[in-house]
């Protein structure tokens, strides 16, 4: 490689610039209004799940924290929004704020435990915390409705005007806008020095303290943010469907979001989004099949992804793209 004509500033700008494909992606999210008007409820579910996957990508794809219990935050957010709506606080945006704050606080508290562990112990702690929260929700049925689900949810109108209709129009606009806004925030974060530090933690957690990085503090920060975002996603679910059951907080949900993120490709922001789309659409299409068989194919997909496509679909595609385009220095 001969002397680069690129200044360091040009180079760094190129790393954070918006790629044309990104514009196409976001424009495409408007298509369901025209192409699939009967599927807007599903579309809003997908947007919510994509937001959840994005929150997991922050800790897994960027900081390298493998969590098998992230649904705990999703569930706390969902239950929070649902519960306060029973007591007259049904305004959706208000519910989002409260859910984000509460879940963020919960995430902050658990982050102190999380930051202390690595490897298997960390995986176990996240698994244990997930189960613990699930059992709590189950046991506290005076609050959560337990196995019967939360009763009496009363969600108000969005901005005081738009009711959540049966066709899912309001739901989709609402979820999509929240997804986009939070995506913008997360994108900014990953392009910041803090984002670089997170990548450093994932790439080599031993080197980080050796360059003076307070890794524990960084991890606590990102974990709290991730929890809050997952909580917002959960609250969105509660508000758009007016139901909250134990399914929002169980291991299945934690495992599914992990599968989606890995399928799409972790550490690229769009991987979780694309994985969510593919997973949810496939599940909807194959919903007729016995659930056992669904999990056979998911299992096979996981095995295939690990053995053949270690960076998920997005990673594989970008690898292909780079191969086809030849080597270029940005």
């Amino acid at each position: 490689m001969s002397a680069p004509s690129l200044t360091p500033h040009d180079y760094l700008h190129a790393q954070v610039r918006w790629h044309p494909l990104e514009y196409i992606f976001w424009l495409a999210t408007i298509l369901p209004f025209f192409l699939f008007p009967n599927y807007l409820s599903l579309a809003s579910q997908i947007a919510i799940t994509a937001l959840f996957a994005l929150s997991l990508d922050l800790i897994l794809g960027y900081a390298g924290i493998v969590s098998l219990g992230h649904a705990a935050f999703f569930g706390v957010g969902a239950y929070t929004a649902g519960i306060i709506s029973k007591y007259g606080y049904g305004d959706p945006l208000f519910g989002l704020v409260v859910a984000a704050l509460l879940t963020g606080l919960f995430g902050f508290a658990t982050s102190f435990i999380i930051a202390r562990f690595k490897h298997l112990a960390l995986i176990m702690i996240t698994l244990g915390l997930g189960f613990l929260v699930h059992e709590l929700a189950n046991a506290a049925h005076w609050l959560t409705g337990g196995a019967d689900g939360l009763q009496g949810i009363k969600i108000g109108k969005l901005l005081g005007i738009y009711e959540f209709d049966l066709w899912g129009r309001t739901a989709y606009v609402y979820s999509l806008v929240m997804l986009f806004l939070i995506f913008l925030l997360v994108r900014r974060l990953t392009n910041s020095p803090f984002g670089l530090a997170l990548r450093g933690i994932r790439e080599n957690s031993v080197r980080m303290p050796a360059i003076g990085a307070p890794s524990d503090a960084h991890i606590r920060k990102v974990y709290t943010m991730s929890a809050a975002i997952a909580g917002i996603a959960g609250a969105l679910l509660a508000q758009t469907t007016s139901t909250v059951s134990l399914g929002v907080i169980d291991f299945q949900r934690s495992a599914d979001v992990l599968v989606m993120l890995v399928l799409g490709g972790a550490g690229m922001l769009y991987g979780g989004l694309i994985g969510a789309v593919i997973f949810m659409v496939a599940r909807d299409q194959f919903s007729g099949i016995n659930p056992q068989y669904w999990y056979f194919w998911i299992g096979l997909l996981l095995v295939g992804t690990v053995m053949l496509l270690p960076n998920g679909i997005l990673g594989g595609l970008s690898h292909l793209y780079r191969m086809l385009m030849g080597r270029r220095s940005t």
């Binding site: 435990i113 112990a121 059992e135 189950n138 690990v306």
Partner: protein
């Protein structure tokens, strides 16, 4: 949901003295702990040796269970005779998977190992559901292992006594193997410091393969023995994985004693929790695990 199987605590109801329930809980907990030990020890040792996170471990246990069920109900085999077969079946299956898939991921990230093995676990659950259906399998215990005996006015389940006997026997064999055989020494060296062991000329990969097969075989044995205590259905592979992981992380990787102590601790906590505080029973073990890991992140007997 796991652990709500009445078979777990049925004997307790028949305690005939006031001391009965406490001894009964301890005994049942210890017996359950023996079962957890059989299921967990293989994973602990292989994790300690190669740091390979095998979340399909309980799928091997499930395989052993289904082998026993098939042999007993379809081919009329006596229960005891099926135990070595389920051990072998699980061991063979593990070797096949190790050769083809696992060994490619020894240096891969934890996440990749987790995903691969969870994927395999999912596939095994779906396959079991396809072949055997999702129902709880009927009991396989022969008449002479059922019922209970009374000592000092307390009821002890015969099957649980059998379980304790098998557990202690296996523990003895494992400890002796580890201390006095060359294979055992190689395992200990590899758990202690893999790089140094290689440097000393120990064939770590080969030792690992054998340990892995043995550990999986023990899981298969555990799966067969579990049928009477907790029942067998396709969800076994994931539900008991959680318990096993708790035992392994609390006990410390690569430690037989660690697995033993942790298994007993978890077994007793679980039974005691469910008996004395049923509303929060399921809580107990997660709470115990988190507290213990916070106190000693490497487990009770783990290294460093």
């Amino acid at each position: 949901m796991a652990g709500q199987n009445p078979a777990l605590t049925s004997d307790l109801a028949e305690g005939t003295t006031t001391l009965g329930p406490i001894i009964g809980v301890l005994f049942d907990g210890f017996a359950y702990g023996m079962l957890l030990f059989l299921l967990s020890v293989g994973l602990s040792v292989t994790l300690g040796m190669m740091n390979f996170v095998n979340l399909a471990h309980c799928a091997f246990a499930m395989l052993g269970g289904y082998v026993t069920v098939t042999l007993v109900h379809r081919f009329g085999w006596p229960f005891l005779a099926t135990l070595p077969v389920s051990f072998l079946a699980a061991a063979v299956m593990s070797v096949a998977l190790e050769r083809t898939l696992y060994r490619k991921l020894y240096r891969a990230s934890e996440l990749d190992q987790v995903l691969l093995t969870i994927g395999l676990a999912f596939m095994s659950i779906a396959s079991a559901a396809y072949i055997f259906g999702t129902v709880l399998q009927p009991a396989v215990t022969p008449a002479w292992l059922r019922g209970s005996v009374v000592y000092f006015g307390i009821n002890f389940g015969v099957y649980r006594l059998f379980l304790v006997a098998v557990g202690l026997a296996v523990t003895l064999v494992l400890v002796l193997t580890l201390e006095y055989t060359r294979f055992g020494q190689q395992v200990r060296a590899a758990v202690d410091n893999q790089r140094m062991a290689r440097g000393l000329g120990i064939n770590v990969d080969g030792t690992f393969a054998v340990a892995f097969a043995l550990g999986s075989g023990l899981a298969g044995l555990g799966g067969s023995l579990a049928i009477e205590i907790v029942g067998l259905d396709p969800s076994f592979a994931l539900i008991y994985l959680v318990y096993v992981l708790i035992v392994v992380s609390v006990g410390g990787l690569g430690s037989i004693w660690g697995s033993f102590v942790a298994a007993v601790l978890i077994g007793v906590s679980d039974i005691a929790g469910k008996y004395y505080v049923p509303q929060f029973g399921a809580f107990m073990i997660y709470f115990v695990m988190i507290v213990l890991l916070m106190w000693r992140p490497q487990g009770l007997f783990g290294k460093r």
